[in-house]
């Protein structure tokens, strides 16, 4: 039987006999490495290390193809054709944030990792050391001056903005592909938790200097490039990129509540009103919808930021999420960027039909037959029709009924530099309490969110989503607690005085009797 395993063994023997010297210099053991690879790595990276494991199509980014020996996050020179061992050990040990590759440092020993490293390198017959190394020079510490200088270089000649966009959100709208022909998207530099290495300036410096091999991210150390930068300039750009990280609109795992504030003036009706930025925001993680109906494993939107305001009559909910593409079907530019089919961008808020009195809520994925939900939906429109908004009654992901008449519900959105902002408003109370949620000040209302990126062909049940969180319309401060507290204290005091007086009298009587 001459199957691939036999061939591999033969090739291995052949390979070993010629390179025994080189291999002995390694500390890893090839056989043990193969064992570990089969148990821990093969499912994604494939038997032949080609990245074509069974789940490859459902992963974004796809698993690395080891047979090429090219790695993205390296520190060897931009003109070297292989990584340093240290780069690969780091990728295995720490994993790749924002991907399905976990850090193995807590499950595999250092020796295990060295063993599997030898096996992985064997797929591309990587030997020796990289010919060149990246020169990190003298690190320029981050400072306002360095950041300002970095920003100038970032924007100059469209050096970085060409792909990463004016504010670094990866919205430079170009259709990018890697060497395998797979679609790639420029990093949203404001979301450091998606950086595969880290957003430490040293890591960013490495990316700028070497580029990201196999992708269209070029080396800015390469003197042949007309956009190349000196070492000091690259440190400035790295400091600028690190400074782009969002600080406010990030997921706080301990927060489950959107706090609605009572408006002091009129409710804002546009998503770009300045008042929104002044409100406390809550940011939640979004994940692909892979639970019901037609599933979608590689959605693009990963967080959503929510704010809410209300007054005596209405509630206004503001949604903000980064989306690299403004997806307007019919638009030639949007179509040229879209992956396959181009659909509208859209967002929805999910609310129960009534505030639950006990623990039970509607099923988190669009309710069910016994507990339906309201979906407040907005979509971006196409060249043929403007943006649209309406309420959908859902009794499960595959039973969604858009309403003909959504009452006074309104929603409007605006797109700028890779961010959508949408504001939705509705009366606190409606004339149809049997089908519409009736808001009450102070009560906790379950709320969750869905988003569609039309340029990523997300439509129908293919979208990202959150789990249930809470919305609370926070009551304005009042004197009530102080009043009740003082009243209770006073009553208690009177009772004690009465009791004390009786006790004292009893004591006197006892002493008199004794005397």
């Amino acid at each position: 039987m001459l199957d691939i395993r036999v061939l591999k063994a033969l090739a291995l023997t052949f390979f070993l006999s010629f390179t025994a010297g080189a291999l002995l210099a390694q500390e890893g053991d090839l056989d043990r490495g193969e064992e570990i690879y089969i148990k821990r790595c093969l499912q994604c990276h494939g038997e032949d290390g080609d990245g074509l494991g069974p789940a490859a199509e459902r992963l974004n980014p796809p698993p690395r193809d080891f047979s090429l020996g090219l790695y993205k996050f390296v520190t060897s020179g931009f003109d070297a054709d292989m990584p340093n061992d240290g780069d690969m050990i780091r990728m295995i040990t720490d994993g790749m944030p924002g991907t399905a590759m976990p850090g193995w440092g807590d499950m595999l020993s250092e020796q295990d990792i060295l063993d599997v490293l030898v096996y992985i390198k064997y797929f591309a017959e990587l030997e020796d050391e990289p010919e060149t190394q990246t020169d990190f020079g003298v690190q320029v510490a981050s400072s306002p001056e360095s950041i300002a200088a970095g920003r100038v270089l970032f924007e100059e000649n469209d050096r970085c903005t060409e792909c990463h966009g004016a504010e670094g959100r990866g919205d430079g709208i170009k259709r990018l592909r890697d060497d395998n022909g797979d679609r790639t998207w420029p990093r949203n530099l404001t979301k450091p938790w998606t950086f595969r290495a880290s957003n430490d300036p040293r890591d960013i410096f490495a990316r700028i200097s070497i580029g990201i091999p196999t992708t269209q991210m070029p080396s800015f150390a390469d003197p042949a490039s007309n956009k190349s930068l000196t070492i000091e300039e690259r440190w400035n750009v790295a400091n600028y990129v690190a400074s782009l990280a969002k600080t406010e609109e990030v997921v706080n795992p301990a927060n489950f509540v959107v706090q609605g504030t009572r408006a002091e003036g009129a409710l804002p009706t546009t998503p770009d009103d300045e008042i929104w930025a002044s409100l406390k925001s809550s940011t939640f993680m979004m994940v692909p919808q892979i639970v019901g109906g037609e599933r979608f494993f590689t959605t693009a939107n990963d967080t959503i930021t929510v704010r809410a305001l209300y007054d005596d009559a209405k509630v206004a909910i503001h949604l903000e999420w980064d989306d690299r593409t403004k997806s307007i079907p019919g638009d030639a530019k949007a179509a040229s960027i879209a992956d396959a089919e181009l659909y509208e961008d859209a967002v929805a808020i999910q609310l129960p039909r009534e505030i639950p009195t006990g623990m039970e809520k509607p099923y988190f994925l669009m309710g069910d037959g016994t507990d339906p939900v309201n979906l407040w939906r907005w979509s971006s429109g196409s060249t043929d029709k403007p943006e649209s908004a309406g309420i959908v009654d859902a009794m499960g992901i595959e039973d969604q009924q858009p309403r003909g008449d959504s009452g006074d519900f309104q929603a409007t959105g605006s797109f700028l530099n890779g961010t959508w902002r949408v504001v939705m408003t509705r009366s606190l109370r409606t004339s149809a309490p049997e089908t519409d949620l009736q808001f009450e000040e102070g009560r906790f209302v379950p709320i969750s969110f869905f988003a569609w990126d039309g340029s990523n062909s997300e439509t129908g049940t293919g979208h990202s989503m959150t789990t249930w969180y809470w919305l609370q319309l926070k009551p304005a401060p009042s004197m009530k607690p102080i009043f009740y507290g003082a009243l209770a204290g006073l009553l208690m005091f009177l009772v004690l005085i009465w009791w004390g007086a009786k006790g004292a009298a009893r004591g006197r009587k006892a002493r008199d009797d004794a005397a």
């Binding site: 148990k39 499912q43 789940a55 249930w468 005091f493």
Partner: protein
């Protein structure tokens, strides 16, 4: 020196109070909800009161210091102090309770609810008490075939389960942080190692919506896998879960182990 009974009672209650906090917050790792603590302390107080007033002498001893405080002039200063502190404490408590709360409601749910004896799976009523993994016997009968089944299970897992339960089966897949409740960690000794294969079969095939009420089926994001996977795929992925983690499925009794 003998500790006065009243002080004894107070000390016991203080000990119980902090005992609950230490056990829940530090040992079990789940902060005890205030409402639950209040309820426990109510029962503890009632219990202490009953024990201390079991006979008449005990009751006398318990209230003696209080009686002395209000009746005897030499304790006047202490009495005045107590009569000031108690109303302030009561008033502050009422104030705190009438303040609007911004803390999200606490949700308690059973993580491993008792399974029903039968469940409707793939259109048939299945007896979960007698259900066995049809591939398990190969582990001893035909190890080579068993390894093949495990490999097929691994494929099912990586295509369907790792997004939430993780490549390492540690419940830390790339989507895990976006879910509440968070996906189970199969490496943990408290999950599949405590369960029978039929239990896993029930949980996988009927998913979140198949949970009983006490387990809050409305928030579990576990899909109903009988809609996506075949019976064989489910049994094979169960083989894989135990094989990868090194755990053994629980059986009905030691006598049955190995079958």
């Amino acid at each position: 020196m003998r500790i006065p009974k009243l002080l004894q009672a107070v000390l016991v209650l203080v000990f119980v109070y902090y005992g609950f906090i230490v056990v829940f917050d530090y040992i079990l790792g789940a902060v005890i909800p205030r409402s639950l603590l209040t309820m426990y302390m109510f029962f503890a107080t009632a219990g202490v009161f009953m024990v201390f007033t079991f006979d008449e002498q005990g009751a006398h001893e318990l209230v003696a210091p209080i009686k002395a405080m209000v009746e005897q002039p030499r304790f006047r200063f202490i009495r005045n102090l107590v009569f000031l502190i108690i109303p302030i404490a009561v008033g502050y408590n009422v104030y705190g309770r009438t303040l609007p709360s911004f803390e999200a409601p606490v949700e308690l749910r059973t993580i491993h609810p008792a399974p029903p004896s039968t469940a409707k799976i793939y259109g048939n009523r299945v007896n979960l008490l007698t259900l066995e993994n049809p591939f398990r016997h190969t582990q001893t009968d035909d190890p080579e075939l068993f390894a093949e089944y495990v490999a097929e299970g691994a494929e099912v897992y990586i295509m369907n389960c790792q997004y939430c339960h993780g490549d390492k089966l540690d419940g830390k897949g790339p989507f895990a942080e976006g879910l509440n409740p968070t996906p189970l960690n199969f490496q943990d000794i408290g999950t599949i190692a405590q369960l029978q294969e039929s239990y896993l079969f029930w949980r996988i095939t009927t998913g979140g919506p198949g949970l009983p009420q006490e387990a809050a089926p409305w928030i579990s994001s576990m899909p109903v896998w009988q809609d996506f996977l075949s019976v064989d795929e489910v049994w094979k992925v169960i083989l894989f879960l135990y094989d990868y983690t090194g755990h053994e499925p629980r059986s009905w009794g030691e006598a049955d182990a190995g079958h």
